[in-house]
Amino acid sequence: MCKLDKLFARLALLAFGIFSAHLAFAQSTQGSTKFPGIGRNATPAEVIAWDIDVRPDFKGLPKGSGSVAQGQVIWESKCASCHGVFGESNEIFTPIAGGTTTDDVKTGRVASLADRKQPQRTTLMKVPTVSTLWDYIYRAMPWNAPRSLTADDTYALVAFILSLGEIVPDDFVLSNANIAEVQKKMPNRNGMTRNHGFWSVNGKPDVNGSSCMTNCVKFVQIGSTLPDFARNAHGNIAEQNRLYGPYRGSDSTKPPIAKLPGSSGEGLAHAADTHAATTKGPAALFKNENCSACHAPNAKLVGPSIADIAAKYKGQSGAQEKLMAKVKNGGSGVWGAIPMPPQAQLSDEDRATLVRWVLTGQ
């Protein structure tokens, strides 16, 4: 859609909005059959604003188009930080592309789903309909700035993703006119079934258990246990259970105890604790204020790692004040194209605490 068209469309919607506002009272009971005074009819502009879903038959798809080349440019600035330059990254979300072949495009079944030659299931290995990609990207991407893409951006991005899977050629231009044809090439278009008992409560279950009550098995074989090295992988289990009552938590920071602790728990090292120390301070603040949505201690996520920030500003005078201003007002360009949004909700005290912690670990 060209810019002029959009302007006209907006003006038309605006005019309609003013017109319909005058009708709001008249509408308040219109259409109601049983509950007078409850709800009102939606205006056409309201339905257009919210009804953005796109179905597999492309009902709801706006007009527009975008090329693979345009998609690549948008991808690199807005998508690659989470999904990798070629949609292959497994760092933050599961990979978008990979695992499909040109043979799959012919058969409509992704062979690697059955032969298990791929370690990871990618989006293109699974998604049967191109409408799904279009709908989701338009409504919810980029992850930290949903609904910021235009319809043309979305066509371009879908075209780029499809080109990664060799479903369309590198010079392809995807549009509302040819998208139905592209859907016929989706590698896993024949890979879904609703022929199972879980779609409806009246469906027939696929398995059933045994009702045997006595002498049911010849011998009991333990097939799987948690490996010893994983004993403390979920933190100290003692601190995840009551410290009183008949069922205490095992101290998973230590090997299992040698014998039963005794009826009041006197043999448990942690039994004398009254309650676990609650973690407070900058690390909790960092998590609670959602900084951890974009920053990790040692790895790059959407933004730089804490370690990288600390290293960059090490020994610089005024770093504390400089970063406090950045946290408050947002910033961009230092660590890549993705801007840091302003964090105006933080108090000065919290900002100072957070920045000090990032810079010094204290």
Binding site: V127, D135, L226
Partner: protein, 466 residues
């Protein structure tokens, strides 16, 4: 209270709860003498004996503050339990005022029972899961602060004054409702479980996590209040002959969209605003969410803002890329919605430690997305022999049922299992039966019998049998 004050009061609980010196009584307490003594003094005047009663009365009124904090001591033979023999601080000093915690919080001694993330499960917390601590819960209702969380793009405190629900699609009149509108409509309150389709999904291949919080904690059960979906659809003139499907859309950044199968979900689906007597918590969809009893949690769209009636499923992202089960032949099962009959023993469970031999009440939860729990059997020998447990009432449809069974532990190793049966006759299967049919790459809808191994040292661990 302002938002900041509420947050402060929540953070400062430990400070408030710390023992403080409550001996600062500035005014003498009034009426510390009995009505009889007052009458006696009035009639006969004061003498040394009656002055003595008065002095004692003062002492008993303020004397408690002088009592020290006795640390629990070793239980000397012939004496008795210090918890009985010694005066306790809370017996002998002034407690806190009413409404010190205007929206109450659990005891500080319950600080360990909280929602927790599973380390390494997801990379970013805004698209993650926090699990309910089933190991510490009682009965069937999940406290609102412990209801599991799963978000796709982070949660917000939506403003209920500007929140709207739109109903459109195959309806005579596309309509808009405010919260004021919705909460005027005839409401129902029903108790149902909600379980994520991926609950227990980490265990499809092998034992992966230590405790019931992580194996089964994407499960909660609450009394939900709201308007039946059917009432709203009828009000808008929905074409339920051709419109067999409903798109539910959330108001968060992910704009979560799920297709609801109206043929099987129309009867009991609720457009809900309340949970256990209070408004929904923000992390559970405040101010409005869909409640689709028996169906996996992802369809209970949170921050619900739009319902569209249509004649075909939408194949949205979470219906085409996630929440699909990979079968051994490479085919994906799509729209697998119903949560089948399932149960788990919660006490004792993985990571717990039994203190001594002797009697225990073994307890757990059972539920079915197709109806009511009819029976729960429990095995203490890894599935060789089974005994039928007591079901606690009420037994409600598509809700959690609590079961209990008596057990005297003789101190030898044991493997505990529970097996639920629902009123359709479906019996909870073993992990082997499930894997034989579906392979081990499904992730979703693992309703296998759970095994907990109890060692002679009293420690319970997560194992798979067979």
């Amino acid at each position: 209270m302002t938002k900041k004050q509420i947050e402060l009061s929540a953070q400062d609980i430990s400070a408030v709860e710390k023992p403080t010196n409550r001996a600062r009584l500035v005014k003498a307490p009034e009426h510390f003498v009995s009505q009889e003594l007052i009458a006696d003094i009035n009639a006969n005047g004061l003498d040394e004996t009656r002055r003595g009663f008065l002095r004692k009365g003062f002492l008993s009124a303020i004397g408690g503050a002088a009592a020290g904090l006795a640390a629990p001591m070793a239980f000397a033979a012939g004496e008795g339990d210090p918890a009985i023999l010694e005066k306790q601080e809370w017996q002998t000093t002034l407690g806190k005022n009413v409404a010190t915690m205007p929206y109450g919080v659990p005891s500080i001694y319950e600080a360990n029972l909280i929602r927790r993330e599973s380390p390494g499960l997801t990379r970013v917390s805004a698209a993650s899961v926090a699990f309910t601590p089933l190991q510490g819960l009682f009965g069937t209702i999940t406290p609102n602060g412990l209801h599991f969380e799963r978000h796709h793009q982070g949660w917000y405190n939506l403003n209920p004054e500007t929140h709207r629900l739109m109903v459109n699609g195959m309806v005579k009149n596309a309509r808009v409702f405010t919260m004021n509108d919705l909460m005027r409509l005839p409401s129902v309150s029903r108790t149902h479980f909600i379980e994520c389709g991926a609950n227990t999904g980490l265990e499809w291949g092998n034992v992966a996590v230590p405790t019931v919080q992580y194996t089964h904690g994407m499960l909660s059960c609450c009394e939900f209040t709201g308007v039946p979906l059917k009432v709203l659809l009828d009000e808008c003139g929905a074409d339920l002959k051709k419109g067999k499907f409903l798109l539910a859309e959330g108001g968060d950044g992910s704009g979560m969209t799920r297709t609801i199968n109206l043929e099987s979900c129309l009867d009991d689906t609720i457009v809900a605003w309340a949970m256990n007597g209070e408004m929904l918590r923000p992390e559970n969809g405040f101010p409005l969410r869909l409640v689709v009893p028996g169906v996996q949690g992802v369809s209970w769209v949170k921050w619900l803002r739009r319902l569209e009636v249509g004649d075909m499923p939408w194949n949205t992202k979470d219906e085409a890329v996630h929440y699909i089960e990979l079968m051994p032949d490479g085919m994906h099962r799509q729209y697998a919605s119903i949560q089948e009959c399932k149960s788990v023993i919660t006490t004792p469970s993985g990571g717990q430690q039994l203190l001594d031999k002797g009697f225990y009440n073994v307890s757990g939860m059972a539920w079915s997305g197709r109806g009511k729990i009819k029976r729960v059997d429990v095995s203490f020998d890894g599935g060789n022999n089974w005994r039928t447990a007591r079901l606690e009432t009420p037994v409600l449809t598509k809700s959690i049922t609590r079961f209990n069974i008596d057990w005297v532990w003789d101190g030898s190793p044991a493997i505990l299992q529970s097996r639920a049966v629902d009123d359709t006759g479906y019996i909870q299967p073993s992990i082997k039966i499930l894997r034989d049919l579906r392979g081990n790459r499904s992730i979703y809808h693992n309703n296998a019998i759970q095994s907990w191994k109890l060692d002679a040292n009293g420690e319970v661990s997560n194992v798979q049998v067979g």
